[in-house]
C-alpha cells in the first residue's frame, strides 16, 4: 500500500463510503445489507455506486424487515462474515431492538465466548428537516443501557471514516450513528488507511472557563458558539466524545478539573438521556472540582413536530446552548 498520505476535503457522506469501500476491498467477508441500499444507492446516497462495484452478493437489498435483517446479519457473523446492516432512519431501530438487545449483544456472553458478533449497524439520526416525530429522533441514550454494544457517533468526515474502519475491524456489535445534517458537510480526510479508536474523545477547542461536551451534529454547533464567545474573551473547551460507548470519561474529567464548569449537550430527549449518564460520571470523577452545578441542554420531552417552528422549539437551539454556557459562568 502506498505511503503517500494526502489530506483533502470530502464530505461526511463520501468519507463513510470511502471507509466501506476500503474495508470491502480489503476483506471479502464484509457485506452490506439493508433497504434500498443497492439499486437506489441508499436513502441518503451513502451506498450509491456500491452495487455496481461489488455486486448483489455483497450489497443486498432487503424486503422491509428490520428485525430479521439484523438477525440475519448476526447469524451470518456466526460463520465469519462481517455484515454492515443499514437501518434507514434511527427511529426504525425500534423494530430491531429484540435482535440487538437479546441476541446480537448477548451471544458472545451467553455462549461462553464461543463466538463473536462482528456486526455493524449503520443508521442516521437527527431532526431539523421537518420529517416529523418518527423520522427525526436521536435514540442513542437507549444503547448506553445495553451491555455489549459500542455506540459510535462521528461529527466530522475525518472521524466518520476512521471510526467506521475501526468498527469494521472490531469484535463486537457496533451501532454507528450518522447524522442527516452532517452528510453534506466537508472536512479534511486522509487518503491512507487510518483508523480512529473507540473511547478516545477529541478536544475540539481548548479553553479555561467552561467545558462543553457535545457530539454528532450539535458538536459542530457548539464549536461555532465557542469560536464566537472566544471573541468576547470567554474560553470554551469543547469535548467531542466521538464514541458514547466506550466513553472517554478521563478526557472529559480532566477538562472539568481545569474549568470547573460543565454544560452537556445532546439532541435526544432530556430525561434519561446521554447528558444524565455523562453528568453522573463527571460527578463521580471530578465532583470536588465543580464550581457550579452542571447544566444540560437536550430536546424537550415531547415528540418532534413536523411544523418547523415547533420542531426548532423542541430541539436544542444555538440560543439554548449559548444561554446554558453563559448561565454556568455567572
Amino acid at each position: 500500500m502506498s505511503d503517500d498520505t494526502e489530506l483533502r476535503e470530502i464530505t461526511y457522506r463520501q468519507a463513510i463510503q470511502e471507509a466501506l469501500v476500503e474495508e470491502m476491498e480489503a476483506n471479502p467477508d464484509v457485506f452490506l445489507i439493508g433497504e434500498d441500499i443497492g439499486v437506489y444507492g441508499g436513502a441518503f446516497a451513502v451506498t450509491k455506486g456500491l452495487l455496481d462495484r461489488f455486486g448483489p452478493e455483497r450489497v443486498i437489498d432487503t424486503p422491509m424487515s428490520e428485525a430479521a435483517t439484523v438477525g440475519l446479519a448476526t447469524g451470518a457473523s456466526f460463520l465469519g462474515m462481517r455484515p454492515v446492516a443499514e437501518i434507514m432512519f434511527m427511529d426504525f431501530v425500534t423494530l430491531a431492538m429484540d435482535q440487538i438487545v437479546n441476541h446480537a449483544t448477548k451471544f458472545s456472553f451467553m455462549y461462553g465466548g464461543q463466538t463473536n458478533v462482528p456486526l455493524v449497524v449503520r443508521t442516521p439520526c437527527g431532526g431539523w428537516r421537518g420529517y416529523g416525530a418518527t423520522h427525526s429522533q436521536s435514540l442513542e441514550a437507549w444503547f448506553l443501557h445495553v451491555p455489549g454494544i459500542s455506540v459510535v457517533m462521528p461529527s466530522t468526515p475525518h472521524d466518520a471514516k476512521g471510526l467506521l474502519k475501526t468498527a469494521l475491524r472490531s469484535e463486537g456489535p457496533v451501532l454507528y450513528v450518522e447524522h442527516k445534517l452532517l452528510y453534506g458537510t466537508r472536512g479534511g480526510v486522509f487518503t491512507n488507511n487510518y483508523t480512529v479508536p473507540f473511547g478516545d474523545a477529541a478536544v475540539r477547542r481548548e479553553g479555561k472557563h467552561v467545558t462543553v461536551v457535545a457530539y454528532s451534529y450539535l458538536a459542530t454547533q457548539v464549536i461555532a458558539i465557542a469560536d464566537e464567545l472566544r471573541r468576547t474573551g470567554t474560553e470554551v473547551e469543547v469535548i467531542d466524545p466521538r464514541t458514547l460507548t466506550p466513553l472517554d470519561i478521563d478526557t472529559i474529567a480532566n477538562s472539568v478539573k481545569k474549568t470547573g464548569r460543565v454544560v452537556l449537550v445532546e439532541e435526544g430527549h432530556e430525561t434519561g438521556g446521554v447528558c444524565a449518564e455523562i453528568g453522573f460520571q463527571i460527578m463521580e470523577h471530578a465532583y470536588e472540582y465543580l464550581d457550579a452545578p452542571m447544566k444540560r441542554v437536550a430536546a424537550g420531552n415531547t415528540p418532534i413536530a413536523c411544523n418547523r417552528s415547533l420542531e426548532n422549539a423542541t430541539l436544542p437551539s444555538s440560543d439554548d446552548i449559548r444561554n446554558a454556557i453563559l448561565s454556568v459562568l455567572h
Partner: protein, 312 residues
C-alpha cells in the same frame, strides 16, 4: 428390513431413550434442589429431534430453542457438559453463562438456543445466507415451536429465505400449546405448514411421534436445500408429556388428552416396530440400561450429588 436400516433404527431408539432418561432425571434433580431456575423439558418430543438431526450431515448446522436439550443431544452433544451447563458450571458448554435456555456448541455446528421465542429464526436464516455466500453446501436446520410461528420474525425470516433461496429447513415442532395457549386459540388454520405457501416455499406436515417419518421428510427437505433449491417448512405434530416449564400445573389440558398422546409415545412406537423385526425385550432393556448409565455418568460428572461450584 436390512441390517443397515435396523442399525439406524436401533440408533434412533438409543438417542431417544438417552434424551428421555436425561430429561426425566433433570426433573428429579430439580426436585432435589440440584438445578435452579427453571427447565423446559422435551419429554414426548424425542422423535422430532432425533429424526430431524438424523437427516443432517455432521457439518450441517442447527439452531434450537428454550426447550433445546433434545436438539443438543440429537446433534451429538455430550450430556455431561450439557448438565454442567444447566448447573452453571465452568465445565459446561458455555462456561455456565448460558444455562438451560442459551446453549451452543459451535464446534459441532450447534449455533445456539435461545430464551426469546422465535428469536433464533432470523439468526439461523443468516447462517444459511452465509453458508450460501461462502459457496459451501451446508444446510441449516432451524427448530422452533407453534408459539414461535406467530412471532413477526418468523414471517420476516421465511420470506427472506424464500426470496433468496437459502439452504435452510424450518422445523416447526407443533406440540399443540404455546405454554398454555392451545393452537386452536392462536391459529385460524388447522396446520402451520400451510403458511409455507404464503412465502412461496414447500411445506409439509409429518407425524412427529414417528421418528422414521420425521427422518424421511426432513431428509427430503435437507436434500432440496443442499441442491440449492431453497427452504422448506416441515411441521411435526407432536406433544410434550410434561408441563411447559417446571412451574406449570397443566390446567389448560386434560389428563385424558395426555394419556391418549402417551399411547403414541415415539419410543413406544419404535420399540413396537423393532419388536416386530425380532428385537427381544432383553435387547430393549440393554439399550435402555445403556442410556440410563450414560445419564448416571453425566450426573456424577456435573456433581449432582455434591456442592455446586459456580462458574467464575
Amino acid at each position: 428390513m436390512n441390517r443397515v436400516e435396523l442399525e439406524q433404527l436401533l440408533g434412533f431408539l438409543y438417542e431417544m431413550l438417552k434424551i428421555r432418561k436425561f430429561e426425566e432425571r433433570l426433573n428429579q434433580l430439580y426436585d432435589e434442589g440440584y438445578i435452579q431456575g427453571t427447565i423446559h423439558l422435551y419429554v414426548g418430543q424425542e422423535g422430532v429431534a432425533v429424526g430431524a438431526c438424523a437427516a443432517l450431515r455432521e457439518d450441517d448446522y442447527i439452531t434450537s430453542t428454550h426447550r433445546g436439550h433434545g436438539h443438543f443431544i440429537a446433534k451429538g452433544g455430550d450430556i455431561k457438559r450439557i448438565l454442567a451447563e444447566i448447573r452453571g458450571l465452568e465445565e459446561g458448554y458455555c462456561r455456565g453463562r448460558g444455562g438451560t435456555q442459551h446453549m451452543a456448541d459451535f464446534a459441532t455446528g450447534h449455533l445456539g438456543s435461545n430464551g426469546i421465542t422465535g428469536g433464533q429464526i432470523p439468526v439461523a436464516t443468516g447462517a444459511a445466507l452465509a453458508a450460501k455466500m461462502r459457496g459451501r453446501d451446508h444446510v441449516v436446520l432451524c427448530f422452533f415451536g407453534d408459539g414461535a410461528a406467530n412471532e413477526g420474525v418468523f414471517h420476516e425470516s421465511l420470506n427472506m429465505a424464500a426470496v433468496w433461496e437459502l439452504p435452510i429447513v424450518y422445523v416447526c415442532e407443533n406440540n399443540l400449546y404455546a405454554m398454555s395457549t392451545p393452537v386452536e386459540a392462536a391459529f385460524k388454520t388447522k396446520d402451520i405448514a400451510t403458511r409455507a405457501a404464503a412465502y412461496g416455499m414447500p411445506g409439509c406436515v409429518v407425524d412427529g411421534m414417528d421418528v422414521i417419518a420425521v427422518a424421511r421428510d426432513v431428509r427430503e427437505a435437507v436434500d432440496r436445500a443442499r441442491q440449492g433449491k431453497g427452504p422448506t417448512l416441515v411441521e411435526c405434530k407432536t406433544y410434550r408429556f410434561l408441563g411447559h416449564s417446571r412451574s406449570d400445573a397443566r390446567i389448560y389440558r386434560t389428563r385424558q388428552e395426555e394419556e391418549a398422546w402417551k399411547e403414541r409415545d415415539p419410543i413406544k412406537l419404535l420399540s413396537e416396530k423393532l419388536a416386530k423385526e425380532g428385537l427381544t425385550q432383553d435387547k430393549l432393556n440393554t439399550i435402555e440400561d445403556r442410556a440410563m448409565k450414560e445419564v448416571d455418568e453425566a450426573v456424577e460428572f456435573a456433581g449432582g450429588c455434591a456442592e455446586t461450584v459456580l462458574a467464575k
